[in-house]
Amino acid sequence: MGATASQLDKGMLSEYQELTFLTKQEILLAHKRFSELVPKEEIDRINCRIPMSLILTLPELKSNPFNERICKVFSTSDIKDGSLSFDDFLDLLSAFSDSATLEIKSHYAFRIFDFDDDGTLGRHDLEKLVNCLTGGTDDTNLTPDEMRQLIDNILEESDIDKDGTVNLSEFQHVISRSPDFVSSFKIVL
C-alpha cells in the first residue's frame, strides 16, 4: 500500500517503525504531509530539508508558542536555521507521539525550554518560557514583580542543588511526578 502512496520503500518504513514510536500509518501520513511541504524544485533530492518558515505553516505547529524552538531542537541542519529533514521530522513526531515514553518527552521538553542551549534552564530561560506561556502580549503579561516571584518559586521548588538553574535531571525529577505532562506533550498530525 505504501509503495504507490509514497516514495518510502518498505525497508525504510520498517526501520522507521523500529526507531520511532509511530505506526506505519502515521509514518506514511507524516511522509505525505512532509512531501506536500517540500519545495517543487527539491522534490527529487533525497535528503531535502524544509525551511523552518514552511514547517511553521503546519496547523499543528502554527499556534504553538514553542514552534520555533521545536524546529530548532529537532533540526540537524548545519547552519542552525531550524530546517527539518524527513528524519528530523519523524524524530519530532515520534517524541511527540502518544506512545513515547516520559523520558523521551521530558528530554526533548527540556531542550525546547532551554532557549539559550546551554544545557540548563537559567532565570533567563524561565523568563522566556513564562512569556511564551502567557502569549507574550502586553495585556496578559505578568508584571516584573510577579515574574520575579514566579521564577523564585519555581527555582525554590525544582532547583535541588541550589545553583540557580534547573538542569536536566532536576527537570526530569519534577516532570516525572506531574500527572498530565505525558498527555499534554503531544502533537498529532
Partner: protein
C-alpha cells in the same frame, strides 16, 4: 583447543565488528556476553527443547523485532549500505552460518558433515549457544528500546542496522519455534487491545458533555467559576440518573400499563373544573389537566399489579421514592470520599505546583489560534492564582488585629443570622394568627408578609455578609466558603418557613379529606342500604357515576407536589430573569452608555457584574433539596429539573462569557469541591426528614395515589412481605424488627464506628510518618547525588545533541581508532542495553559537579573538559558530567 581457538576467533570477529561503530553498547554487550558464556560453560546447559520453549515464552516484542529485523536486513543486504563497506559480504556469510546453526539445532547434531560452515557450527558447545542466545537477546532488547533513546535518527539508524545484523547473524542459533504464529497473533491482539482501550478512553472523554464549554469558562474566569459549572454538570448527571429511575420504574409502567386517562375519578378532571382545565393560566399553575396527569402523585392507581407483567406499581412507587434518596446519599458520600482521597494522596502534590504549571501546562495539541489564546489566558490566570496563594502564605502581619477583626465579624454575622431567624419566626407566627382571621379582612401585605420578609432577607443579607467579610481579610477561597456557610444558614430559615407552611396546609387538607371520606362512605352505605332494602337483595350492583362527577377529597399529596413544582419553576424564572437583568442588561448598558456618560461606567460604579459563585451554588443546592423533597409527590418534577439544569447550563455559560468579568482576584477553587458536597449532603438530609416522616406517619389520601386505601404508605411493603414472599422471610423480618435485636445492632454499629475511627486515625498517623520518612529519604538521596561525580548516560546524550557538537559524525570518525587497539573496557554487566534504559528512568543521577563548587564559571577544570575525543584511559563518565563549554 582448536575449539577454543575458534571461539576466540568468533569473538574477535564480533569484536572487530563492534569496533567499526561508535556504539558504546557494543562493547558493553561484549562484556556482558562474556560473563554468561563463562556461566554457560560452568553449569550444565539446559536441553535445547526447553530452550525453545523458553524462547517461546519470551516476550512478543522481541519476536516481532526479530522478524522485522530479518526482513529489513535482507532488504539491506540487497540494497547495499554505504555505511559499512564489508556489510554485504559479511552479511551473506553470516546468513549461511546462521541458517546452518538453526539447522543443526533442529535436525539434532547427527548429520553434520555437509558443509564447512556447518561443521564449524556443529562444534559449538551448548554453553556457547546459550551465551550467543543471551547476546542476541541483548541485541534484540536494544532494538526494542532503541526508540527510547533521545538520539538523532541517523545515529539510531546505524545502531539499529548494526544490531539487526548481529541478530540476524546469530538468531539462527535460536530456534524458530512453532509458537511463532501464536506469538504474532498474541502480539497483534495485545496491540489491538491497547488501541481499543485508547479509543475507548477517547470515546469516554468525548462523551463528557460541555467539556469544552467549561474549559473555556475556566480559561477566562479561573477554576473557581469553573467549579460551579463542574458542580452543575455533576448535578445534571445525578438528576439524569434519578430521572431514569423515576421514569423507568414509576411513570412509564403507569402510563403504558395502567388505566388510561378518564377511566377512574383520580385520572379525570372533575366536572366543575373542566371548563377551565385547558386554560393557559390554569395549566401554568399546574391545575386542570396538569393536575390530573402523571406529573403528580394523585394520578397513580392503587391496583396491586398493573399490566401483563404484574408490575407492583405501588410497591415500586414507594421503593423508588426511597431509593432515590438512598442512591443520592450513596453518590454524594462516594463523591466526597473520592474527593478527599484525591486531596490527600501524594506528598508531592504541593511540592511542584509552580514548576508543573510552568513546564507542563501548555497543551501541545492545541492547533487552533483561538484555543491558543484561551490557553494563554488560562495559563496567565493560573499563574496569577498561584501567586496569590503564595502571597497569602507569606503574609503575616498583625495577627492580633486580624483575629480581633475576625471574631468581630463572626459576632456581627451571628447577630444578623439570629435577628433574621427571629424575624422569620415572628412573621410565621403572625401569619398563623392571620390565617385564623377572615381572609377578606387582611391587607395584601398581611397576606404576603412571609414571602416579602423572606425575599427581603435574601436580598439584603448576602451583600451585608460580604461587606462584613471584608473585615476578615481571608483568602478569597476561604472567604467563599464562609460566605457559603453563612448564606446557607440564612436559607435554612427559608426552608424552615416553607416546610412549616406546607405542613399547616397538609393538616388542613387532611381534616378536609376526612370529612369528604366520611361523607362518601356514608353515601355509599346509604346507597347500599337503600338498594338492598328496595330490591330486597344482597347482590348490589356498584354505583355507576361518571368518573368526572365523583366527589373526591383534596388529595394533599398532589397539592404538595404542585407546590414544589411551582416553586421550582418560579425559581427558574427568577434565576433567568436575574441573569438577564442583573448581568446581561447591566453589561449592555455599561457597554453602550459608556460612550455618552459623564464618568467611566466600565471602570467606575456599575461596571460589569462578577459571577456570583456562592449564590449560584447555593441556589443549585437548595433547588436540589426541593427536588428531593418534591419528587415523591410529583414524579414529573424530575423531568422538569433535568430540563432546568440543561437550559441553565447553556444559559449561564453564555451569560458568564458574554456579560461577566472575572473576579478581581482570580482564585483557584479548592482541589476537591467537598464543601459543595457537604452542603448538598446536609440539604439532602434535611429534605429526607419530612418525606420519611410523611411516609411513615401520615395517612395517605383515601381516593388518590398508589397508596389509597391504606393506613400508612409503608403498608405496601408489609403487604408484599406477607403475601408475596415466602413465610420464613416474613418471620425473619419480624424477628429483625424486634427491639431486642435492634438495640444490640445499634450498639454494634456504634462500636464499629468507634473502632474504624480509631483505625483510621492510626493509619493517618502512619501515613504522615511515612511521608516524613519519604521526604527525608528523598533529601538524603538528593544530597548524595549532588555530591557524587556520577556517570550519567542521560547527560551524555544531551550533550551529544547540543548543537555545538550535535552529531555523531565527528565521533564516528574519531572513536574507532581510540578503541580499536584497547581491550574493551571492563564494565559491570548490567549497565548496557535495557539496563541502561532502566537506569535512566530512575530519576536522574545528578551529573553536575558537587554543590560545594559553587556557581562559579561553568565548565569544570580544563583538563577535564569534554573533548571530542574521549581518551581510552578515561572511563566514561568522569569529566563527561561536566557541562559542555559555553559558547
Amino acid at each position: 583447543e582448536a575449539r577454543r581457538k575458534r571461539i576466540q576467533n568468533r569473538r574477535a570477529k564480533s569484536q572487530r565488528k563492534a569496533k567499526l561503530t561508535i556504539e558504546e553498547e557494543e562493547d558493553e554487550d561484549e562484556d556482558e556476553d562474556k560473563a554468561p558464556r563463562g556461566r554457560g560453560r560452568r553449569k550444565r546447559p539446559k536441553p535445547i527443547d526447553s530452550d525453545q520453549d523458553e524462547e517461546d515464552e519470551d516476550k512478543g516484542k522481541r519476536q516481532t523485532a526479530t522478524r522485522r529485523g530479518r526482513t529489513t536486513s535482507k532488504k539491506k543486504s540487497d540494497k547495499e549500505d554505504s555505511n559499512d563497506e564489508s556489510g554485504k559480504e559479511k552479511g551473506s556469510r553470516r546468513q549461511t552460518r546462521g541458517k546452518a546453526a538453526s539447522k543443526t539445532q533442529k535436525e539434532d547434531s547427527s548429520d553434520s558433515h555437509n558443509s564447512d560452515s556447518e561443521n564449524e557450527e556443529d562444534q559449538l558447545s551448548e554453553g556457547e549457544i546459550e551465551a550467543l542466545k543471551e547476546q542476541v537477546e541483548e541485541k534484540k532488547k536494544l532494538i526494542a528500546t532503541l526508540r527510547n533513546k533521545p538520539w538523532r535518527m541517523k545515529k539510531r539508524l546505524i545502531i539499529l542496522k548494526e544490531a539487526q545484523e548481529f541478530v540476524e547473524k546469530f538468531e539462527g542459533a535460536l530456534g524458530k519455534g512453532k509458537g511463532r504464529k501464536l506469538y504474532a497473533f498474541k502480539i497483534m491482539m495485545a496491540k489491538k487491545f491497547i488501541k481499543f482501550k485508547r479509543d475507548f478512553e477517547n470515546f469516554k472523554t468525548a462523551c463528557i458533555p460541555w467539556e469544552r464549554k467549561i474549559k473555556e469558562v475556566e480559561s477566562h474566569f479561573g477554576s473557581s467559576v469553573a467549579s460551579y459549572f463542574l458542580f452543575l454538570r455533576w448535578m445534571y448527571g445525578l438528576n439524569l440518573i434519578l430521572f431514569g429511575l423515576m421514569f423507568g420504574l414509576v411513570v412509564l409502567p403507569e402510563v403504558m400499563m395502567g388505566l388510561p386517562y378518564g377511566s377512574i375519578p383520580r385520572k379525570t378532571v372533575p366536572r366543575a373544573e373542566q371548563e377551565t382545565a385547558m386554560d393557559y393560566s390554569v395549566l401554568f399553575d399546574f391545575g386542570g389537566y396538569a393536575k390530573y396527569s402523571f406529573m403528580f402523585y394523585g394520578y397513580y392507581n392503587n391496583e396491586r399489579t398493573v399490566g401483563v407483567l404484574k408490575f407492583r406499581l405501588p410497591l415500586s412507587y414507594l421503593l423508588t421514592g426511597v431509593g432515590i434518596f438512598g442512591y443520592s446519599l450513596m453518590v454524594v458520600i462516594r463523591m466526597m470520599a473520592r474527593n478527599s482521597n484525591e486531596g490527600g494522596d501524594g506528598g508531592d502534590e504541593g511540592q511542584f505546583t509552580f514548576s508543573w504549571k510552568m513546564f507542563t501546562s501548555w497543551d501541545f495539541l492545541i492547533g487552533n489560534p483561538e484555543t491558543a489564546d484561551n490557553k494563554y489566558a488560562s495559563i496567565t490566570t493560573s499563574f496569577k492564582e498561584s501567586i496569590v496563594d503564595e502571597q497569602e502564605n507569606q503574609k503575616d502581619e498583625n495577627i492580633h488585629l486580624r483575629r480581633f477583626l475576625r471574631v468581630l465579624a463572626n459576632f456581627m454575622i451571628l447577630c444578623c443570622l439570629g435577628g433574621s431567624g427571629y424575624l422569620i419566626y415572628f412573621v410565621v407566627k403572625r401569619s398563623q394568627d392571620f390565617a385564623k382571621l377572615d381572609p377578606r379582612s387582611l391587607t395584601w401585605f398581611q397576606k404576603n408578609e412571609v414571602e416579602f420578609v423572606m425575599s427581603l432577607l435574601g436580598l439584603v443579607c448576602p451583600p451585608l455578609f460580604e461587606t462584613i467579610a471584608e473585615l476578615e481579610d481571608y483568602h478569597p477561597r476561604i472567604a467563599l466558603k464562609w460566605q457559603l456557610g453563612r448564606i446557607f444558614a440564612l436559607f435554612l430559615g427559608n426552608l424552615y418557613t416553607f416546610l412549616f407552611a406546607l405542613f399547616d396546609e397538609v393538616n388542613a387538607k387532611m381534616l378536609d379529606e376526612k370529612a369528604v371520606k366520611n361523607a362518601t362512605e356514608w353515601a355509599y352505605q346509604e346507597y347500599y342500604a337503600n338498594y338492598s332494602s328496595f330490591h330486597n337483595t344482597t347482590d348490589v350492583p356498584p354505583l355507576n357515576i361518571p368518573p368526572a362527577d365523583v366527589v373526591r377529597g383534596p388529595c394533599w399529596e398532589t397539592a404538595v407536589g404542585i407546590e414544589f413544582v411551582k416553586l421550582t419553576v418560579s425559581d427558574v424564572q427568577v434565576t433567568f430573569l436575574t441573569i438577564l437583568v442583573g448581568d446581561f442588561a447591566r453589561a449592555v448598558i455599561v457597554r453602550f452608555l459608556n460612550y455618552c456618560w459623564c464618568w467611566d461606567l466600565e471602570a467606575g460604579f456599575p461596571s460589569y457584574a462578577e459571577f456570583d459563585i456562592s449564590g449560584n451554588v447555593l441556589g443549585l443546592v437548595f433547588n436540589q433539596g426541593m427536588i428531593w423533597m418534591g419528587v415523591f409527590y410529583a414524579p414529573g418534577l424530575m423531568g422538569v429539573n433535568v430540563l432546568r439544569l440543561l437550559t441553565s447550563m447553556y444559559f449561564q455559560c453564555w451569560a458568564v462569557m458574554s456579560s461577566n468579568v472575572p473576579h478581581e482576584r482570580v482564585f483557584k477553587a479548592s482541589r476537591s469541591n467537598n464543601f459543595y458536597m457537604a452542603l448538598l449532603l446536609l440539604v439532602l438530609f434535611l429534605s429526607l426528614l419530612p418525606v420519611i416522616y410523611s411516609i411513615m406517619t401520615l395517612p395517605p389520601s383515601f381516593d388518590c395515589g398508589p397508596f389509597s386505601g391504606q393506613d400508612r404508605m409503608y403498608d405496601v411493603v408489609l403487604e408484599t412481605i406477607s403475601r408475596d414472599l415466602p413465610a420464613f422471610i416474613g418471620n425473619i423480618l419480624t424477628y429483625a424488627s424486634n427491639p431486642g435485636l435492634i438495640m444490640p445492632a445499634i450498639l454494634l454499629m456504634v462500636l464499629a464506628i468507634y473502632y474504624l475511627n480509631t483505625v483510621s486515625k492510626g493509619y493517618q498517623q502512619a501515613n504522615t510518618d511515612l511521608k516524613k520518612k519519604m521526604q527525608m529519604a528523598r533529601d538524603e538521596e538528593k544530597n548524595r547525588r549532588n555530591n557524587k561525580d556520577s556517570t550519567n548516560q542521560m547527560m551524555k546524550d544531551l550533550e551529544d545533541l547540543l548543537p555545538d557538537k550535535s552529531l555523531f559524525k565527528p565521533q564516528v570518525q574519531e572513536k574507532p581508532p581510540t578503541e580499536k587497539g584497547s581491550k574493551p573496557t571492563k564494565m559491570k554487566p548490567g549497565t548496557a542495553g535495557v539496563n541502561l534504559h532502566k537506569e535512566v528512568s530512575l530519576a536522574s543521577p545528578n551529573p553536575r559537579g558537587p554543590v560545594s563548587r559553587g556557581p562559579g564559571p561553568r565548565g569544570g577544570p580544563p583538563g577535564n573538559a569534554m573533548g571530542p575525543q574521549p581518551g581510552p584511559g578515561r572511563g566514561r563518565g568522569r569529566g563527561r558530567g561536566a557541562p559542555p563549554p559555553r559558547r
